[in-house]
C-alpha cells in the first residue's frame, strides 16, 4: 500500500499539470483613462491592459466596462495597433476579445453619464478596482476646474489654471467614491457676507439669520424691471432734453415774433 501512495501523488501531479496551460498569461497592469466632461455628460474611456509577456497562446480576454449611457465601442486593438475581433454584451456590460502574440490591448469607447449629479454643479462616481489583476491606475482628464474629493482610494489632483483643466490620478485596488464640484478657491481669504450674523452659531441662530434674510425678501416688492429699459434710458433722456430745449427755444422765438407783430 505504501508503494502506491507516491505513485498516486505522481499521477495526480501529472494530471494537474496537464490541465494548467503551459504558459499562464498574467496582466501586469491596467490603466484606465477617462476623459469626461461632467457638464456635457459625455466622454471617452480608454482601457490600456498590459501583459507581463507577449501572449504566445490565444487569450480570451473579458473586460467589464465602466457603465454609462449611449455607449459606443470605438475600437479594440492590440498594443501594436492591430484591430482585434471583439464582442460587446450590453446586458452584462462586458467586452470579450480573442488575441494572440501581443503584449496588451487597448479598448476605446464613448459613454455618457459616467458620473451622477449630486446637486447642481457637483457630480460623483464610484469605482471598485479590487478585482482588476496586476497594478491598477485610473486617470481622469476633465475640461474645466473642479474641486475633487476622494473617499477610499487616494487621489492626486492637478488643477491647471493655464489650460483650465483638472487631472486626477488614482492608484491601487479598492473602492473609490469621487466627487467633483465646480471649483471654489478654498484657500483664499474669506470675506464674511453682511447678511449672516454668524456662520458658527447653532440652529437657534439659524432662525435669526433666516428671518433677517426673509425680512430682506419683503424689501423687494415687485420691482422687476427689464434691464433693457434701464440701460437704454440714459441716451433717450439726453435726446429728449435736446429736443425739448430746441422746441422751447423755437416757441419763445415765435412768441417774441408775435409780440413784436
Amino acid at each position: 500500500m505504501r508503494f502506491y501512495i507516491p505513485l498516486l501523488i505522481l499521477l495526480a501531479t501529472i494530471l494537474l499539470a496537464s490541465t494548467i496551460p503551459a504558459e499562464s498569461q498574467q496582466v501586469s497592469s491596467t490603466n484606465i483613462q477617462i476623459t469626461y466632461d461632467p457638464l456635457a455628460e459625455s466622454g471617452i474611456v480608454v482601457y490600456n491592459i498590459y501583459f507581463e509577456q507577449p501572449a504566445t497562446t490565444p487569450v480570451n480576454l473579458t473586460v467589464t466596462l465602466i457603465p454609462g449611457s449611449n455607449m459606443t465601442i470605438l475600437n479594440v486593438t492590440s498594443l501594436e495597433g492591430v484591430p482585434l475581433p471583439y464582442y460587446y454584451d450590453n446586458q452584462s456590460n462586458t467586452l470579450s476579445t480573442l488575441l494572440n502574440n501581443t503584449s496588451g490591448v487597448v479598448i476605446t469607447y464613448l459613454a455618457g453619464d459616467l458620473m451622477t449629479m449630486l446637486v447642481p454643479g457637483s457630480y460623483y462616481m464610484t469605482l471598485d478596482t479590487t478585482s482588476i489583476p496586476g497594478a491598477v491606475s485610473v486617470d481622469f482628464n476633465i475640461p474645466g476646474l473642479y474641486n475633487a474629493s476622494c473617499i477610499g482610494l487616494k487621489c492626486s489632483t492637478i488643477l491647471d489654471f493655464s489650460s483650465n483643466t483638472t487631472e486626477i490620478h488614482v492608484e491601487g485596488k479598492g473602492s473609490l467614491i469621487m466627487t467633483l464640484t465646480l471649483y471654489t478657491p478654498f484657500t483664499l481669504p474669506v470675506t464674511t457676507a453682511t447678511p449672516t450674523t454668524s456662520s458658527t452659531t447653532a440652529t437657534t441662530s439659524l432662525v435669526a439669520t433666516t428671518s433677517q434674510y426673509t425680512t430682506s425678501t419683503t424689501q423687494v416688492p415687485g420691482t422687476v424691471q427689464s434691464p433693457g429699459v434701464q440701460t437704454s434710458t440714459p441716451p433717450v433722456n439726453l435726446l429728449t432734453i435736446i429736443v425739448a430745449v430746441l422746441l422751447v427755444g423755437a416757441v419763445i422765438i415765435l412768441l417774441l415774433v408775435r409780440k413784436r407783430a
Binding site: L39, V46, L84, T126, L182, S199, I253
Partner: protein, 410 residues
Amino acid sequence: MKAWLSTLAALLIVAGLVVSLSAIPLASKGVQDVATNAESEEEVDIANNTVAVRPAFNLTFENALKLAYDVRNVTYPLFQWEISHNVTAANVTLNLGDNFLDKALNLSSSNETRRATVMAVVAAIHYSHAVPLAYPVVGKTIDSLFNANATSGDITSAVINLAQELKSILLNAVSIAEARNLTIPSSLDNITAIGDKLIANAQSNLSAGNITLAFRLAMSGYHTYVKAYGLLVTSIFIQDLQLPARHDIGVFFFHEKIGRETLVKVFEKLPEGLKETVITKIEKGEANETGEVVEYVREVALMWSIKAKELANDYAKSLLENLTLKTVNESDIARVAIFMKFRSEGEFREAIRQIILNGLSQNKTVSQILNELSNYLGNITNGKFDFRMSLKDKIQNVSIEVGSQAEVEH
C-alpha cells in the same frame, strides 16, 4: 428782424424734428444693444470664469430669492456640522453663498433685477454644495484616526457614527423643508431606508469581526445618506424654479466657457491615431465643446468600424484557423478521420476556413464560431473528437472586472 426771428424759430423746429427723428433709431439701437448684451448681463461667472451661470428659462427674482433661502435653510445644519468637523471649505462655501445673496439683494434694490436673479441662483448653487462637502468630513475623520494608529474596527465604528449623525441632520433638513412648505421627494424615504439597512449590516458585521466588509458597508451607508441629502436639495431647485426634470438640471444653469486650449489639453490623452484627427478638428475650430468632440469621435468610430472589422476578421480568421489545425493535429482520432474524409490537408483547411468566414460574415462571436467548428469536427469524427474540450488548454481566460455604480437617476 421779424423774418429773421421767424426763420430762426423754423430752423429750431426743424432741428428739433431732425434730432427727435434721429433719436428714434438711436433709442431703438440702445434697446438692441441691451438685447444683445442681455445674455452677458444675465451671466455670472463662477469656477474661475470657466462656467457661466445663465438660467435658460424665465425666472422671477422672487422665485430665485425663495430658492436661495430654501436651499440655505435646508443646508445650513449640514454646513454647521461640516464646519464643526474642521472642513474649512464648508465655511468658505457658505460665505460665498451669502456673498452672492447679499449682491442679489443689493442689485435688486438698485433695480438691476435680472442680474440680481442670477446672483440669487448662484447663491443657491453654492449653498447646495454643502452636500458634497459631507465627504471630507468622513475623509478627515478616517485620516486622523489612521494617523493616530487607530484600529480598523475603531475607524469603521467612527464611520458608522458619522453616518448616523448625518442621517439625523438629514431628517432635521427634511423637517425644515416641510416647514417651508416644500414637497419632499417620494423616493427619499426609500433611499434613507437603504442607508439604514447598510448601516445596520455594517454594525452586525463589525460585531461579528468582519471588519473589511463592515467598513465597506458603513461607507456605502454614508454615501447613501449623502445621495439622499442631494436628492432633497435638488428637489428644491426643481420645485422653486418649476423645472421639468432632474437629470438635465445642469443644462438649465451652466454654460461652459472652455477654450480651444482646454479641449486640446484634455483630448491629447487619447490613443495615437485618434488623437491626431481629434486635435486637428479642434484646432480648425470645427469642434468647440466637449459634446461636439465626442460626436465627432462617434462619426470617426463609424468610419473606422468598416476598415477595422475587415482587419479584425483577417486576424480572427488566421487565429481560429491555426488554432483549429493545431488542435486537430494533436489528436490521432481526428487526424485519422480527416485522412479518411479529405483528399488532402489543403481540402480540410479550406473546409475549416469556410466555416470561419461564414461565421465572421454573419457577425457571429468567436465563441459561436468555435461551437460550429466543434459540431463540424464532431460530425466528421462520429463524435469521437471533442474539439471544445481539446481547446480548453489552448485558450487562456483572463478576466478584468471593474466595479462601478451607474446611477443616472436616483
